[in-house]
Symmetry: C2
Subunit: 143 residues, 2 copies
């Protein structure tokens, strides 16, 4: 079997179990992956507009609108006043921050658990490779 084929087979074969089990962890906190990644982003970068989140997640704007609305209903995020009246800049509420910290513990445990036996050097190496492939994909446009 060609190496490049094997690579993507393995990639897909890893994704599904990873997401499945991630969702099991998140379900303990009544969250889903899409919501979690937004909480993560806001916790890391302080605030973001919907377009920013859309680019970050590689999803269309309506998808972000929906997820943000749900998070707003839950009281985890709130709008921040901004000069440009078109944009909707969001940040975590106090509750949102607390929830994030709480879930972070669960997810940290999960992630560390499934990386058992992989050296930090290997992890860094893989991160570099994944970054490079992502760049390749985004660079080539939609040929």
């Amino acid at each position: 079997m060609n190496t490049y084929r094997e690579f993507f087979i393995q990639f897909l074969q890893l994704y599904r179990p990873f997401e499945n089990h991630l969702n099991i962890q998140l379900a303990k906190h009544d969250l889903f992956r899409g919501q979690w990644t937004i909480l993560f982003y806001l916790s890391n970068y302080g605030s973001a507009t919907l377009v920013e989140l859309s680019n970050y997640q590689s999803v269309e704007k309506p998808t972000v609108t929906r997820t943000i609305n749900r998070l707003e209903e839950l009281g985890y995020v709130e709008q921040l006043p901004s000069i440009d009246k078109r944009e909707k800049r969001m940040q975590l509420t106090l509750l949102g921050k607390n929830v994030y910290e709480d879930v972070r513990v669960t997810i940290d445990a999960y992630e560390q658990n499934i990386l058992q036996g992989i050296s930090e050097a290997d992890q860094l190496h893989a991160i570099g490779i994944m970054r490079e492939i992502r760049d390749n994909i985004l660079k080539r446009g939609d040929k």
Copy 2:
């Protein structure tokens, strides 16, 4: 940022663009990822029961039933007689084989393209790491 966190961020950040562009390639042949992976499996292993496919893809049986039905409607797969009357063993039809070979060309080009700059050694290394993580996930059950 902790390495293990970074690892999974990068993993998710790679997945979405990869799947997006994969689907763009497959759309040229009116296929979707779920269908394609089944064609791939059948081409590689000759035949499979629905449970086998369900395990391979880490999805529940109803999902496989649906996808297989669609492929059957398209005339790409057909049932194979089997001793155990409960199971439904499927294989590619002649048309299915031809379609697979056809799409394979498109996907090969796509995959090679986005792996540009990644040495074969690096690819193999990454494959090993992904395999190991997958094993970790499957081993730990659903804690």
